[in-house]
């Protein structure tokens, strides 16, 4: 049952990501991007990482998508008319992404580690919230503090940029 659901979610994720790429209007692209994030969060939950799925939905999808929507609302008069105008050298981009996909697939599926990983793969709760929080506040404590400083620096950086914008206006 879980495996069928996973396959359905994988297909929906790929189609949603494809539609995100192919939308000419940025608002549609943002909404399909939000649905892609939701579907990836459901995959996280189904393969046994409920904490990550919840963080992805509550913080990441909520926060990032709202930021995108605010940016679109503030610049709503600026959009391209049709799909062709939105692209800049699409053949080059398509070849680079295709090369990435083919090379990664080839190196992964040809390696011996991959076969071992495929044998050991299990869907289920391998990492509990208790274990994650314990290692986060013990082994990874310094990095957690550094990432909070990074978030603070981001807030200050955004304020400085927007203050700069007001001075120009």
């Amino acid at each position: 049952m879980v495996e069928i659901l996973l396959v359905i979610f994988c297909i929906l994720t790929i189609s949603s990501a494809f539609t995100t790429c192919m939308s000419s209007k940025i608002i549609r692209s943002a909404f399909f991007f939000g649905s892609t994030l939701f579907l990836i969060a459901f995959i996280f939950i189904l393969i046994g990482s409920p904490l990550l799925g919840t963080v992805q939905i509550l913080l990441y999808t909520g926060g990032t998508l709202i930021l995108f929507l605010f940016a679109i609302i503030l610049t709503r008069n600026w959009d391209y008319e049709d799909l062709g105008e939105t692209f800049h050298r699409p053949i080059r981009a398509l070849s680079v992404s295709f090369l990435f996909f083919i090379s990664m697939s080839f190196f992964l599926f040809e390696s011996e580690i991959f076969i071992e990983l495929e044998k050991n793969f299990t869907i289920g709760p391998s990492s509990s919230i208790e274990n994650i929080s314990f290692s986060l506040f013990n082994d990874w404590f310094l990095i957690l503090e550094l990432s909070s400083i990074l978030l603070l620096a981001t807030i200050v950086g955004c304020l400085v940029l927007l203050k700069f914008r007001e001075e120009i206006d």
Partner: protein, 99 residues
Amino acid sequence: MFSILIYTALLVSSLGIFMLLSKKHILSILIGIELFLNGINLFFITVSKSYSNDAADIFILFILVITACEVAIGLAIFLVNQRINKTIDINDLNKLKDF
């Protein structure tokens, strides 16, 4: 099932790279970077289920934090560019250096 998840992660990452390299709209480029990083997250979590440790979960939490920072800064630059240059085109972003 492992192969399907890996293929999904690679496809989402590839679509992110395509969007990052081909689009002219700055917001679309940011969405492309997000798609790429989400594909990488899915790849990490799938591989970590074979090793049964918590390191991948913590790595993904940090990736989410850094991505949120990057989006916030990117959108601030986008708004500044749109107000000053009156365009959403990534090719005109270098005109910001004149101000």
